[in-house]
């Protein structure tokens, strides 16, 4: 499989639930609905949600000039409150130049290399997480609306195939916990029936959703 295709599959894998034909939309549940009231309270309270610390970091980075072009995000995108509203909800989004979908982190890094002439930030770096969370924060509460069309279709299908494929020592597919047994599996499992709230706060740090997949993949 060409690396570009593999990349594209990885990009849509985390939001393939939006495309699931087998679970009707009204039956889908966000992992948020399955949290204990105390955890939900932590998610809801901007004063207590540690993800808000990342949002603050991201707001500062948004203004910081970077790269040989010496440009900040704000220089092109202005006030994020206006320009980034609803943007994260559309990601992963298809990039016509690269001919594959990009997730939000990849899109931010692409802006860095193409427009700021800066090195891409490493995945899982504090800075990239902060910028991603800051952008995502401007889509807070909005349903995820990834385009499902002729261009993204093949990537979604490939992602669905991986999601439903048994793998690993326990011979489990993602779908077996997150689709078939979402009601009976321990609260630690999140249902993929609906997309989780745009601000994710796992443990005490914000975290990329790809890390959740990584965590599950260890079994």
């Amino acid at each position: 499989m060409r690396p570009a295709v593999r990349f594209g599959i990885a990009a849509v894998l985390t939001s393939v639930a939006a495309m699931a034909a087998d679970i009707p939309a009204p039956d889908r549940r966000s992992g948020y609905a399955m949290m204990s009231p105390e955890l939900r309270a932590m998610q809801d309270d901007d004063a207590a949600n540690p993800g808000m610390l990342s949002v603050l970091d991201g707001a500062a980075l948004w203004q910081q000039a970077e790269g040989t072009a010496h440009k900040s995000c704000a220089d092109c995108h202005g006030d994020a409150g206006k320009s980034m509203k609803g943007v994260a909800a559309r990601y992963p989004a298809f990039d016509t130049t690269l001919d594959r979908p990009l997730d939000l982190e990849q899109r931010i890094d692409r802006c860095r290399t193409e427009h700021q002439q800066a090195k891409p930030l490493p995945f899982d770096s504090k800075e990239l997480l902060a910028l991603t969370v800051y952008v995502a924060h401007h889509s807070k509460g909005e349903p995820i609306a990834v385009a499902e069309d002729a261009r993204t279709g093949p990537f979604i299908e490939a992602g669905r195939h991986i999601f439903e494929q048994r793998q690993g020592q326990l011979n489990l597919s993602c779908g077996q916990c997150h689709d078939e047994n979402w009601a009976s599996v321990s609260p630690a499992r999140r249902s993929r029936r609906r997309i989780r709230p745009v601000i994710r706060s796992i443990g005490s740090n914000g975290s990329r959703s790809a890390r959740c997949g990584g965590g599950c993949a260890i079994v």
Binding site: M42, G203, S204, I218
Partner: protein, 163 residues
């Protein structure tokens, strides 16, 4: 409770976790120098004794709000509230929270006073195992009150392996 606790030196009891004090605590609870130690209910009782001195710990007045089951022991929300007037004459001086199965028994000690308005504290803590948490309220009249809550922890904090 077993034998009477040893009398403490006069003056303000400080629970500052200085490096020396912590090292001593770790020496008590650690089994092997290179591995993380495990506290025990015994270590918790020792800590409680050092908090209350010769006073009696009375159950009551102290409420712990904590989820009975937590998915992730790394971030456990906890609220402690003490049923007490808050006046110059009668108020909560301090709240101490202790645990029985983390590597060390102390969680937090807070100093309040007559200006507190409400003796209520919300924090987030780490729990290494399913266990009982105990909160102790020290009142201005020298009495000590306690409340406890049991928590079941699915994913332990402190002693997990890093990838």
């Amino acid at each position: 409770m077993s034998a009477d606790p040893a009398p403490l030196p006069a003056g303000r009891r400080s629970f500052l976790i200085s490096s020396g004090q912590w090292a001593a605590g770790a020496a008590i609870v650690s089994l092997l120098p290179a591995s993380p130690g495990r506290a025990s209910p015994h270590a918790m009782q020792e800590l409680i004794r050092s908090i209350i001195g010769e006073a009696t710990l009375q159950p009551g007045k102290v409420r712990l709000d904590v989820p009975p089951l937590v998915e992730n022991g790394n971030t456990v929300p906890l609220t402690v509230s003490v049923d007490s007037a808050i006046t110059e004459a009668d108020h909560v001086k301090a709240i101490h929270i202790v645990n029985e199965k983390n590597p060390q028994p102390h969680v937090i000690s807070v100093t309040l006073g007559p200006r507190a308005g409400k003796a209520q504290l919300s924090i987030r803590i780490k729990l290494a195992d399913s266990q009982q948490l105990t909160a102790i309220a020290e009142m201005s009249n020298g009495s000590f009150w306690s409340g406890s809550a049991d928590v079941v922890v699915t994913l332990a904090a402190c002693v997990e392996d890093l990838k």
